[in-house]
């Protein structure tokens, strides 16, 4: 009887593993399809692929237009990363560390942009820029990204802040540190893992953002925006090629970022 119960538990666990694996296959299937398509020699996509080649990768890499777009994407992502991490670190302290009147309201307001459909937010921003007479460009796109990404990064860092004992800051004060010293010597190093994940999130979410860039980048284009324009206009193998490159870039960054985070934790005294 008891062993049958254990066997039942094991079977449930196997089913859960199986289901998760199945969903993961589905999650990665289209990304794989894109990668396959990008290595097709033919101008038109057909499966099974007759001749593999890296022609479209070469063409994509050589394109001046795509070079510009990649540069714009990186520029926006970098600006967004730096600004959002600074703003969100303080935002997370206000979210999770301090008790202040209005905190509850602030907590709810800050997550509203996450809960807001991005296409509508993008259009609203476009309208807002227009109303005050700001020409849309990569800078307005970066601002739009910030509106959505700062709340996300705030939550990411807030989770780290929750696990942080305020008594440590008080002890540092007590030992004679100024407020700035406390922040530099105690708060920042302890929050660093959260800030680091926040930076990765900020960069990668900006890098992959489509709906906000679509409406707020004006004449400038980012990778997702350019890809969408080409998708609508008709098939070119440069779409899956650039899409796969962007995916690979994100994967490399995530892996590298994760590795750096891991190494930094290792280097800490045990």
């Amino acid at each position: 009887m008891a062993t049958s119960l254990i066997r039942k538990q094991k079977r449930t666990n196997a089913l859960i593993w199986g289901w998760t694996a199945f969903v993961l296959v589905i999650v990665y299937l289209p990304i794989l399809c894109g990668a396959l398509a990008s290595f097709n020699k033919s101008r038109y996509f057909g499966f099974p692929i007759k001749t593999f080649s890296t022609d479209w990768w070469d063409k994509t890499l050589a394109s001046f237009e795509i070079g510009m777009i990649v540069k714009t994407s990186i520029l926006i992502a970098l600006v967004v990363t730096v600004l959002s991490v600074v703003i969100a670190t303080f935002g997370a302290l206000a979210f999770a560390r301090y008790d202040w009147t209005g905190r509850r309201l602030y907590q709810k307001l800050i997550i509203l942009p996450i809960f807001f459909p991005q296409p509508v937010l993008g259009l609203a921003l476009l309208l807002g820029f227009n109303a005050v007479g700001i020409q849309t460009s990569w800078m307005t796109a970066a601002f739009a990204h910030l509106v959505w990404i700062v709340p996300v990064v705030t939550l990411v860092i807030a989770i780290q802040v929750y696990g942080f004992d305020p008594a440590l800051e008080e002890a540092a004060y007590d030992l004679g540190c100024s407020r700035i010293q406390v922040f530099r010597e105690v708060t920042l190093p302890l929050l660093w893992p959260g800030i680091w994940s926040g930076m990765l999130f900020a960069f990668l979410l900006s890098w992959s953002n489509f709906p906000l860039s679509l409406y707020t980048a004006g004449a400038d284009s980012t990778i997702p925006k350019w890809l969408y324009a080409k998708m609508v206009a008709g098939y070119t193998p440069m779409v899956p090629a650039l899409g796969t490159m962007a995916t690979l870039g994100a994967a490399v960054l995530l892996l590298g970022g994760g590795l750096v985070g891991l190494l930094a934790r290792r280097r800490r005294p045990a």
Binding site: M1, A2, T3, L5, I6
Partner: protein, 366 residues
């Protein structure tokens, strides 16, 4: 009312309700519990004490059915229950965290096991009110949010919930450890009363020997996964089997001694000592003399004692009604504890002679 059983009679051999034979639990290569044999008597209050990490919680989880032993047998009234899952065992655990369901009221918490059994709502409520009376909770608490209850009240809710299951054995995993001292003392006595009133078998684990002493019929001392000694509180206190138990049970003075012909000579202090022979009668070459501070006394000119040492008082602590002195004897520090009435008069000579009788000390193997 509660299923009442006859209180543990002083008959020669009451039938064990729960029996452990060679129970062992390993996690990977680490053995949390090493080969435990134990008979739990029907209706007794047994406490397992031990420092944190001694394996007592693992032992309890195996008894409650939340872990299965890697080796050995656990039987309940003669039935092997090694692999019987917790929800089929007629036993119930009161968790350290109490594990009260925060989304349910006091009443819903208490009636939970009855709901599981499919008892009707009216019967559940009637039973819950009975149990609330037993654990001294006012009846209007039935609909109260359990998270709004105080620490002591939550304790009672957890107890009532466990009783509602009508278990044959109740387990307690240090449920009092988070409470303040006064409340803890009161609840210890209440728990003891409840034990007597209900006649159920209680198995309680704690790291606090004080708690164990107050409540238990028998105490088992655990160390590094083993049960080192099982006995009545008096046995544990008065005749510990080794230094670990003796030190765990309270503060002690320990002197290492070596056989020197017919006599014993101190190794870490100068002097010759008269010893009570060790409990197991073994012939020892080296031994430890263990004396509790309250059996030490100051010797004046002409006082007699089997053993004596001379040292310097360098500290005294007030323990309320009692005073403890720290006395440096050579490199060693000895403790003497007296009632306040017998304290050293102020301004007396710090050089003192302390002594004890062989009958008040015990001898442990070296």
């Amino acid at each position: 009312m509660l299923q009442t059983m006859t209180a543990p009679a002083a008959e020669a051999q009451p039938r064990p309700i729960l029996q452990l034979v060679g129970v062992r639990k390993t996690f990977g290569r680490f053995a949390a519990v090493e080969s435990i044999d134990l008979d739990v008597r029907e209706g007794e209050f047994l406490t397992i004490v031990g420092p944190s990490g001694s394996g007592k919680t693992t032992l309890l989880r195996m008894l409650a059915g939340m872990d299965t032993p890697s080796e050995g047998y656990i039987t309940l009234r003669g039935e092997l229950i090694n692999d019987m899952p917790a929800n089929r065992r007629p036993t119930c655990l009161v968790f350290q965290s109490l594990a009260l369901f925060p989304h349910k009221s006091v009443g819903e918490n208490i009636t939970f096991p009855l709901k599981v059994k499919g008892v009707s709502a009216a019967a559940r409520k009637a039973r819950a009110l009975e149990l609330m009376k037993v654990v001294r909770l006012p009846p209007d608490y039935f609909d109260k949010n359990v998270m709004k209850c105080s620490g002591g009240e939550r304790q009672r809710v957890a107890l009532a919930r466990a009783f509602a299951y009508d278990p044959q054995v109740l387990f307690f995993d240090e449920p009092l450890s988070a409470l303040d001292y006064k409340l803890k003392k009161a609840l210890e006595k209440e728990l003891k009363d409840l034990h007597r009133e209900t006649g159920k078998t209680f198995i309680y684990i704690t790291h606090s020997l004080e708690e164990a002493m107050v409540m238990s019929d028998r105490i088992g001392v655990m160390r590094a996964g083993r049960l080192v000694q099982v006995g009545t509180p008096e046995e544990i206190y008065g005749a510990p089997v080794d230094r670990f138990v003796s030190e765990f049970v309270g503060e002690v003075n320990t002197i290492k001694v070596k056989r020197d012909g017919e006599e014993w000579r101190g190794v870490d202090v100068d002097g010759r000592f008269t010893l009570r022979p060790p409990a197991d009668g073994a012939a020892l070459g080296e031994a430890f003399v263990v004396v509790r501070p309250e059996y030490m006394r100051f010797l004046k000119e002409g006082d007699t004692a089997d053993n004596r040492l001379t040292g310097t008082v360098y500290n005294e602590y007030s323990l309320g009604s009692r005073i403890q002195y720290q006395i440096r004897v050579g490199e060693k520090v000895m403790l003497v504890e007296l009632s306040r009435a017998r304290a050293l008069p102020p301004g007396s000579d710090p050089v003192v002679t302390i002594g004890w009788d062989a009958a008040d000390a015990f001898t442990l193997a070296g």
